[in-house]
Symmetry: C2
Subunit: 234 residues, 2 copies
DNA sequence: CGCAGATATATTGCATACAATAATTGCATC
DNA sequence: GATGCAATTATTGTATGCAATATATCTGCG
């Protein structure tokens, strides 16, 4: 029992994948950042082969862009892609709550309640708060036992982080904790229709509340043109 | 100009991916089939490296299972996964038609009409008919211009082929052409609600019409128990 | 025969080497 | 200085080789 074999799956390739994914979701690697195969491999102590495999996976998940002969970069969704993504999320998450309404076991209710409490407790710490908010949604999806649904919700929640990193207002708490609580209440009450509407509204709120275009969304030329004009250049 | 460079994108890796995907969807490789890296590479004239990359992609799309140290096989979804998959599909495709209702351009209407005609013409040829039926759904998705929605619908439609290959009744035309026509009519009329309900019903029909458990789906014990009782055994 | 163990074979996991392409730098020229 | 081109360097694309693991074959024993 030399080393913890906790890394099951396709051995270290999965480990590289997870490492990169975490780094991206933590915004240690921000959208647009270049991801050179050998520096990553060097840093992680694996060969380019494994890094490449991980990058292919991440690109399939939509977290990195892969341009032929030009390498990989952290994905940089446009604002419109962001809005569309939240529409897709809503469609899937409505199915989640409709599936779950009136069917939660006491165990699951306990898990969700505890999670909401944790969210409330972490309200001050922005980073943690964002992570927990996302986890609430993936937790719900998990409980449906619907494999494809789970996979897609996980993927979309992950990508939402990217979107919010790019276009989210710094100080908006993306998911209001109270909305999660209401959602849970309606699920317990077994009212699928209400739960569905709450989820729709909840995700809608995120887009209108947190998703406004910021300066650095415009491309560098547009940004610079203002300064150029101010200095009498161009 | 030695060879046609038609394969753009990530060079031959994409080509391998497409080749395998086609083979799977055409059922030239049926669910459960083993996919050894070197025989595939040999046959396609590429190294294992590229085959591996393609297999990773396919596994992310849910078309192949990838078990560590045991290699790749064509995915073999269970019947329950199948039913769940169609639920997920319905959720997404409702969004598709809601997005499209009353917004189709004359061009798009023409495209869809032509497609339905083609479906009608190919009614006799089972294989073609199945392919066209799937393409109708991906065509609709395409028209939403919603990237994530498009990707997921494509993926789910592809996987549906696997499901139907495993559990579909041989002679059921999986998508009734008339239902596609009705759907199109409601989209043109701009009635999002009707379109949504039609889509739900349409996909529901597929599951109840074509997706019934066959004998070889039940496990051997269940099958034998009936015979055992008949013979006064067990 | 049936079966446990050992040997041999096939297949995957991973790293490395080399070729092909893109990015960068340096230099000459205008 | 700015611009276009050549040489250099960095980075990706692909094949191949070796080690590790799984699968199949072949014994010998009960």
């Amino acid at each position: 029992m030399a080393k913890t074999v906790g890394e099951s799956g396709r051995g270290r390739s999965q480990a590289v994948h997870r490492a990169l994914k975490r780094a991206i979701l933590d915004q240690a690697l921000s959208p647009g950042a270049k991801l050179p195969e050998d520096s990553i491999g060097e840093r992680l102590g694996v060969s380019r082969t494994l890094v490449r495999e991980a990058l292919v996976r991440l690109s399939e998940e939509g977290l990195v862009d892969l341009r032929p002969n030009k390498g990989a970069t952290v994905a940089r969704p446009t604002l419109e892609e962001g809005r569309n993504l939240f529409l897709t999320r809503a469609a899937l998450e409505r199915l989640v709550v409709e599936t779950l309404a009136g069917r939660l076991t006491p165990d699951q209710i306990e898990t969700l309640s505890a999670h909401i409490e944790a969210e409330d407790a972490a309200k001050k710490e922005h980073a943690t708060s964002i992570r927990l908010a996302g986890e609430f949604h993936t937790l719900l999806a998990q409980m449906t036992n619907n494999a494809s649904l789970i996979r897609y919700v996980n993927e979309l929640v992950a990508r939402s982080s990217l979107i919010l990193a790019l276009y989210g207002r710094p100080h908006s708490s993306e998911c209001a904790v109270s909305e999660h609580q209401e959602l849970l209440d309606s699920l317990i009450a077994g009212n699928a229709d209400v739960a569905s509407k709450l989820m729709t509204h909840h995700l809608d709120s995120i887009t209108t509340r947190a998703l406004l275009p910021r300066e650095d969304d415009r491309n560098i030329k547009d940004v610079l043109s203002a300064y150029a004009a101010a200095e009498g250049l161009a």
